[in-house]
Amino acid sequence: MAEYTPDGYGQAARAVVESANPRLILVAHTSQGYDLAPALAGAMDLPLVTNCLALRFEGERLVATRRLLNEKVQVEVEIASSRPIVATVRPGSVKPAGPAAGGTVTVMPVRIDPSKARTRFLSIERPQVQDIDIAGADIVVSAGRGIQKKENLPLIEEFAKALGGVVGASRPLTDMDWLPKTRQVGQSGKTVRPKLYVACGISGAMQHVAGMKDASLIIAINTDPSAPIFEVAHVGIVADVLKLLPATLKELKS
């Protein structure tokens, strides 16, 4: 059990749920959490609600608040069941409380049958690319799908250079190989905390926001006034980056 495997941890989680029969099973909505929780719910025939921002019980009912459609719509759903409910909670959605006194840890020995393990851990692979480390930069100018084509990257580079910063990107751009994976800001990429973060044509999906929300100053430029990036940004501009950046560069140089 030194390394996570869906099968090994799944067996252990099932054994604990069976003997403890809890009302609610909370799991973090991380790549490991949403690997474990849905399979547990499926295997034990339990109700499941995932990626929750908030949870509360109203009598027998569990009420979950979730976000849909690129954060543009919020929904409340309710689940009632006599069985334990599995829920995953989005990281960062709840402020951790301080330590409370008086808790106890119950250790439950569980038996794992290694002959029943159908997934086997092989290794952890680390990215090997030689590139600048955007996590160490004071100023990061990131490009998203709003730059429309790869040919517009030099504009972002020029803007970053004018500010003395480096170029980052949202996931779609590194997926398309416009920039190396090392430049990706977000949950599956780098977490950055620069003095200045400029989001150029980035809508602000939760995976991206997770990697940049702690920057000291965030400026967002996007054509869509309802883009969720404007919720985390300190300064917002509804504009086409391809028009705004050249005009701003001209101003900065004058």
Binding site: L36, P47, I139, D224, E231
Partner: protein
């Protein structure tokens, strides 16, 4: 080793659009939406077709959804699926991922399956739950956020993405369920002759009876589920906006950057 591959697909409203909430507050307005194949599912389909091309076998694309999903299924045929199946579950919104996963699992039980693939998440409901639920319901091993799949002996070797750009490698026995990550491959464009051919191919439909249910309402669930209501998200905060024409915005932005000590003079 020829593989019977089932790829679960979902048709979603294009999430780049603006959405309005329906008068009853239980769904978005759906009358004028533009639908597309879910992003991560595109990569799942491509991965399935590539595995078939390498190892032999068959790719069946499966969805649960209303008639409009036929357009997506024809796209799947044109991109290399051998057969497409629609579970005729007509609920337009289908907010309960548990129910949809039980329908998919019931359908998969009726067909040969060495490997079940789906996308890591749907961009409309963002549950990241379908693959895991289906695996659990079928009692199959699974791996999530998969970026690489290789057939090794009687099983697979897969790379799963973790936070921070790390990958965890597993070997996994077949049959298995994998959720495929964005960017795992480069999805192909459908060639025109294949699109023409796909337009004439049949789409198999599965009724509740075909899956052993009296009706879609009678699918046994260990819980009750209800949508309480949709609302515009309560903004956590909002940026101070720089307004005006592009030139005015540029002027103000440049001034702001200078005032904060950024940018060369």
């Amino acid at each position: 080793m020829p593989l019977n591959i089932v790829v679960c697909l979902k048709q979603i409203p294009n999430p780049d659009l603006q959405f309005q909430i329906a008068p009853d507050g239980k769904d978005i307005k759906r009358d004028a939406l533009n639908y597309k194949l879910n992003g991560a599912d595109e990569y799942a389909l491509e991965e399935g077709v590539r595995l078939k091309e390498k190892s032999g076998g068959r790719v069946v694309a499966l969805t649960a959804g209303p008639k409009r999903t036929e357009q997506m299924l024809r796209e799947a045929l044109a991109k290399g699926a051998d057969e497409v199946i629609r579970i005729a579950f007509d609920e337009a919104a289908a907010y309960d991922v548990g129910k949809v996963s039980r329908l998919l699992a019931a359908a998969i039980r009726t067909m040969p399956h060495d490997l079940v693939l789906t996308g890591v998440q749907s961009d409309d409901l963002v549950n990241s739950a379908t693959g895991g639920l289906v695996a659990g319901l079928l009692g199959l091993p699974h791996a999530s956020v998969v970026t690489r799949v290789e057939v090794k002996g009687n099983g697979l070797e897969v790379a799963c993405e973790l936070e921070g750009g790390l990958q965890r490698l597993y070997s996994i026995a077949l049959p298995a369920v994998l959720t495929i990550q964005f960017g795992a491959n480069t999805p192909r464009y459908a060639p025109l002759p294949a699109i023409m051919k796909a337009a004439r191919q049949p789409i198999r439909e599965l009724s509740p009876a075909a899956l052993g249910f009296a009706s879609w309402e009678a699918v046994p669930l260990p819980y009750t589920f209800a949508v309480r209501g949709l609302s515009p998200p309560a903004a956590k905060g909002h940026a101070e906006m720089i307004t005006g024409s592009v030139d005015e915005q540029a002027k103000k932005l440049a001034q702001f950057l200078r005032d904060k000590g950024f940018g060369r003079r």
